[in-house]
């Protein structure tokens, strides 16, 4: 079983989650209000009042077979809007 961690802008979360569901993942979890730093520089919550939003952290535990579908779904979004993804091993409790 695999664990996928995605970090992306708050406002693309809906799109990414749709892609994850379509890829056949059994579930996912989303944490909003994530700040941080990446290639696009620092992201804070200070502009939240303007509707800009900060980052979100999406976690998916799924079978290895699903990973490829998720990767190809989020890759174009990451290319356009930024965002990063990581993968590691896990098993069910």
């Amino acid at each position: 079983m695999k664990r996928i961690d995605l970090f992306l802008t708050d406002r693309e979360v809906a799109k990414v989650c749709k892609a994850i569901r379509k890829a056949g993942a059994p579930g996912y979890s989303v944490m909003r209000h994530v700040t941080g730093m990446g290639m696009a520089g620092e992201i804070s919550e200070a502009m939240d009042f303007s509707g800009l939003g900060a980052n979100a952290h999406v976690i998916v535990f799924c079978e290895a077979a699903v990973v490829e579908a998720i990767r190809s779904a989020v890759r174009p979004l990451f290319d356009l809007y930024g965002g990063v993804g990581f993968i590691s091993n896990a098993e069910e409790l």
């Binding site: 802008t9 520089g41 200070a46 502009m47 939240d48 009042f49 303007s50 509707g51 800009l52």
Partner: protein, 334 residues
């Protein structure tokens, strides 16, 4: 220029709280207004300003003067981004130039509100329909910005990137017109209009919320804006002298343009100031969120920092009294 206007503006509570926020950041205080509290105040201010605008629009009616003013406002929100783009393009890339242009073509509701408070203190009257102008100036600049980004990038490249192939009209219009803050402002305007026209008994019950509380809530929000603006100011070093210069000179030029038009269409003193402020101000609410989605290649820290870190403080602290001095000199008392 009448220096008492500047002083009058500087010692008003909203401006002083704005300074307090700035000073807090500069001296390293850990004062912060955590999310989503600033959002509460920004939603509240949009709702209240829209509602009050609708109320006064219902009182004044939709006469020729109203339509002409609104038409002029929309025209400005098309003209300003195009001219800004052409100028900015001489030094920065198309995406960032387009996003900046959209910001400066659009408006800042808080600057507008601060100008209204300033007029109230001076006992200079203004019309409710100016809020309609405000509401209608938000969106066109966004559409223009996206178009410019698209045109600019397809002319400079072979246009093969996914963003460059065909304009996602649906998404652009959605971001421009259905953007949360635009939607709330226009919706509240319509509600204010409807309630005033058909159920005026309700107005008195809204008054404590939309009218009485307004000034204090503005102070609270400006405290946060001071904090955020000061943080942004520190980002501006990276933006370079060209953008810093633009952020300080553009509002002046746009205000003068606005003064000319205000004179042309015969606005009174109060409305003239508000019109100038609409032209001079740059958006950091609706536009960044919209640009982030439609022109993601542009760097938000550039256009937000310019609009919020420089143009906003400049307008609020120096601009408003300066524009008022010009108005008093060039616009006859009706």
């Amino acid at each position: 220029m009448d220096s008492s206007l500047v002083l009058q503006n500087l010692v008003s509570a909203p401006i002083l709280f704005f300074f307090l926020g700035i000073i807090g950041v500069l001296v390293g205080s850990d004062l912060e207004i955590p999310a989503p509290l600033p959002k509460l105040f920004s939603l509240y201010l949009l709702l209240a300003i829209g509602f009050k605008g609708g109320l006064e629009l219902a009182h004044s009616g939709l006469g020729a003067q109203v339509l002409i003013t609104i038409g002029a406002a929309v025209l400005m929100s098309l003209l300003v981004p195009i001219s800004s783009y052409l100028f900015l393009r001489t030094r920065i890339d198309s995406y960032n130039a387009a996003a900046m242009a959209a910001s400066y073509g659009s408006i800042s509701a808080v600057t507008f509100i601060t100008a209204q408070s300033f007029l109230n203190v001076l006992h200079v009257s203004f019309d409710g329909f100016m809020v309609a102008a405000l509401a209608l100036m938000e969106s066109p600049a966004i559409v223009v910005g996206v178009l410019l980004a698209k045109l600019g990038s397809s002319s400079s490249r072979s246009g093969a990137s996914p963003a460059a192939t065909g304009l996602p009209w649906r998404e652009v219009l959605q971001e421009a017109f259905l953007n949360g803050s635009v939607f709330l402002l226009i919706g509240s305007l319509v509600i204010g209009y409807l309630v005033t026209s058909f159920s005026p008994a309700g107005l008195e019950k809204m008054d404590p919320f939309t009218e009485k509380l307004f000034y204090g809530a503005l102070c609270f929000f400006l405290l946060d804006m001071g904090i955020v603006a000061a943080q942004r100011l520190q980002d501006l070093r990276r933006a370079g002298a060209f953008l810093i210069g633009f952020a300080l000179v553009a509002p002046l030029l746009h205000a003068l343009l606005g003064l000319g038009i205000a004179r042309l269409i015969g606005l009174n003193q109060g409305d003239s100031l508000l019109f100038m402020v609409l032209c001079a101000s740059a958006s950091y609410i609706a536009v960044p969120a919209a640009m982030r989605m439609t022109v993601p290649q542009a760097n938000p820290s550039l256009y937000i920092s310019a609009a919020l870190g420089l143009t906003f403080p400049f307008n609020v602290v120096v601009g408003i009294p300066l524009y008022m001095a010009l108005v008093q000199r060039f616009v006859p008392v009706l």
